[in-house]
Amino acid sequence: MLETDKLTKQFKDVIAVDDVSLVLMRGESVGLLGPNGAGKSTAIAMISTLMKPSSGDVRLNGKSVLKKPDDMRRVLGVVPQKIALYEELSAYENLKFFGRLYGLSGNKLEQRIEYVLELVGLADRKKELVKNYSGGMQRRVNLAAAMMHEPEVLIMDEPTVGIDPQSRNHLLETIRKLNRDEGMTVLYTSHYMEEVEKLCDRVYIMDHGKVIAEGTKEELKAILSDQETVLIEFDQNYPELFIKLSEIEGVQHSTIEEQSLKLIIPRGTRMLAALFHEAERYGAQVINVNVQTPTLEDVFLRLTGRKLRD
């Protein structure tokens, strides 16, 4: 129902979003994954009609929204990366204001406020000023405010940044419920792989303004299907040994951590013998060897040579 066509945004000296084409089907839950500065927020600002693209188009049900943003704005609930609320007002007052902007009033308004507060689990604390809430509670109200006008599509820009695990779980649960039970279409932006893996059916991976991979979780992991990730733990750090091991024939990628080494190798490579042999030569003790199935994190690593989070 929603798509972008070669969406591009150029600021003075950076191309923040470069030729991005996304599709969102009704009822789908789609993840937009990428490290800091990948261009996720910029893309979302253009999709939600808050920013004009340098080129490209955004379409809702086949119609461009650039000239006439009204329809898009009606169906869209946007949860911005920042807390877009009046800090000096209570949660209730914020929701009341935003509800009235969408033409709600009287009983209907009160009911809707009750509903969204219930949804994010803040019904009993609605009278407190937003500035006195914890970060997690603010995030929840941020979501509630986007839900006031019963949107069909929920666009979320890193809604879990900087919050406690409890609030995070609550938020993720809420979103999953909205998507699974109420058929809400969700575009979920994050640089947390676990969240996207948990929530989303399909994933776009962005880096440096470009979509570098897309597909279902399985399709993406299939990129790594011919490979294995081997995690080797040592009793301590052996810099020279680690480098030596990274250079063993067949190793496609390696990551050195404190006492461990992560290697991506072609499936079926026999390298354990070589590993133990080298370890012995350096007098190193191998504590654990673990062959893992790939995660989206590994996919990203493979695609960009970098980790998602620094």
Partner: protein, 419 residues
């Protein structure tokens, strides 16, 4: 619109520090300036009260007699000689000075007591008198000669004050100067034209007390009121900046509401706040400092008309500031405005002191600031409650307001600013 307005007003009520600046601060300044500068505005009669010792170092009767002798020895025709003798008696400067202070307009303020030099000095030291006027030897004679024969030799008197820099001393000094000038020069003129010099003297002093019948409290209530309403402009623009920064402005844009509703709400909220602000300041000042006679409906309706016009123009000013702030996506405008422009406008608008002595240019600019124009409207209403006199300053406020409004509409980023 209702939703916007309720939100804007609520935000302001929650902001304690802004409220303090908008309401408590002007009131504090009215109190401080009103009390400390009481004497400058001579309408404050009780503040000018003072006790004066008059020391005469000569024998007045003797001096008059000696002048009369001189007249007789001049060998004038008898009628003229008699007229001059009588004039010498009537125009005796010491008597004139005393009767000047006993005159109706001054006797309420100044009590004068004859003392000898020692006694006077002691009283001054003990602060039972505020000033000592000394008429030195020969004062009467010189003055009379000057008045009657037009001699060139002037007479002098001496003023000794406990506090040289006090406003009372200033006033007394100017009264005495006027007096000395009168006995030395103007009296000679009046001799020629045959007028009664005593009338001239009191006439000269009358102008001193009647020059500015506006009290310091009236002055500063109005001065601070028209200054502090300007802060509403930066407060409102500051709010808009915060809304943009915290991205609630984006939420508002997403709601499909016309951004013009948002802008109008800001203007109306500003006007409403200014109205409340002015009402509070005037009423509190009237109640606590007896600044205005609180019982005249006619008077208050004039004040209300001016206030509402001013509120409207500040509303338009706020809209302009909001428009620029959103366009620049920065809080520079409200910051610069409250950090300097307001003081400048208040100064050229005459909020701190009367602009009587200032260059014409400055006064012309001041007259076109909303605060300056409102200030002169309030003063003119205070001096003479005549609606006709208000038309011109109110027109100026209105014209400026419309200019602000048009600029605001031109600069307001209708689509919300994002490039």
């Amino acid at each position: 619109m209702g939703a916007f307005l309720i939100k804007d007003i609520m935000l302001l009520l929650r902001d304690r520090s802004e409220l303090l600046i908008l309401l408590a601060m002007p009131f504090l300044l009215i109190a401080i300036l009103g009390f400390s500068l009481r004497g400058i505005f001579s309408g404050d009669l009780e503040a000018l009260e003072m006790d004066i010792a008059l020391v005469s170092e000569e024998n007045e009767a003797q001096a008059v007699a000696s002048i009369q002798n001189e007249i007789e020895e001049m060998g004038l025709p008898p009628e003229q000689a008699q007229a001059l003798t009588q004039a010498a008696e009537a125009a005796s400067p010491q008597t004139m000075l005393v009767s000047l202070f006993e005159d109706e307009s001054l006797s309420e303020l100044i009590t004068i007591e004859r003392m000898d030099r020692q006694q006077a000095q002691q009283s001054l030291d003990e602060e039972t008198v505020d000033a000592v006027i000394t008429l030195p030897e020969g004062f009467t004679q010189k003055s009379l000669k000057n008045m009657l024969f037009g001699s060139k030799e002037g007479s002098e008197l001496e003023l000794l004050a406990a506090d040289l820099s006090s406003p009372q001393t200033d006033v007394l000094d100017s009264i005495l100067n006027e007096f000395v000038r009168t006995v030395n020069f103007e009296a000679s003129i009046s001799r020629l034209s045959g007028q009664d010099s005593a009338v001239e003297v009191s006439g000269g002093i009358e102008t001193i007390t009647a020059r500015e019948p506006i009290t310091s409290f009236q002055y500063y209530t109005i001065g601070m009121a028209v200054m502090f309403v300007l802060f509403v402009g930066s407060t409102i623009a500051g709010q808009a900046n915060l809304e943009q920064k915290q991205m609630v402005f984006d939420r508002i844009r997403l709601s499909n509401r016309s951004p013009l509703l948002y802008l109008s709400s800001k203007a109306i909220a500003a006007s409403a706040i200014v109205t409340v602000q002015l009402a509070l300041l005037f009423i509190l000042s009237a109640l606590l400092f007896q600044t205005f006679a609180a019982d005249s409906w006619a008077f208050w309706s004039g004040i209300a008309i001016i206030s509402i016009t001013l509120a409207f123009s500040v509303g338009c000013l706020a809209a302009l500031m909001v428009a620029i702030t959103l366009r620049l996506e920065s809080d520079a405008v409200p910051a610069i405005f409250s950090g300097g422009v307001i003081s400048l406008m208040a100064f050229v608008g005459g909020s701190f002191m009367p602009l009587d002595g200032m260059p014409e240019m400055l006064r012309a600019i001041g007259n076109w600031t909303p605060n300056g124009a409102a200030l002169s409207a309030y003063f003119s209403w205070l001096l003479e409650p005549d609606l006709g006199q208000l038309t011109e300053p109110l027109m100026r406020i209105g014209i400026v307001a419309v200019v602000f409004l048009l600029l605001a509409l031109a600069l307001f980023p209708r689509k919300g600013g994002a490039a």
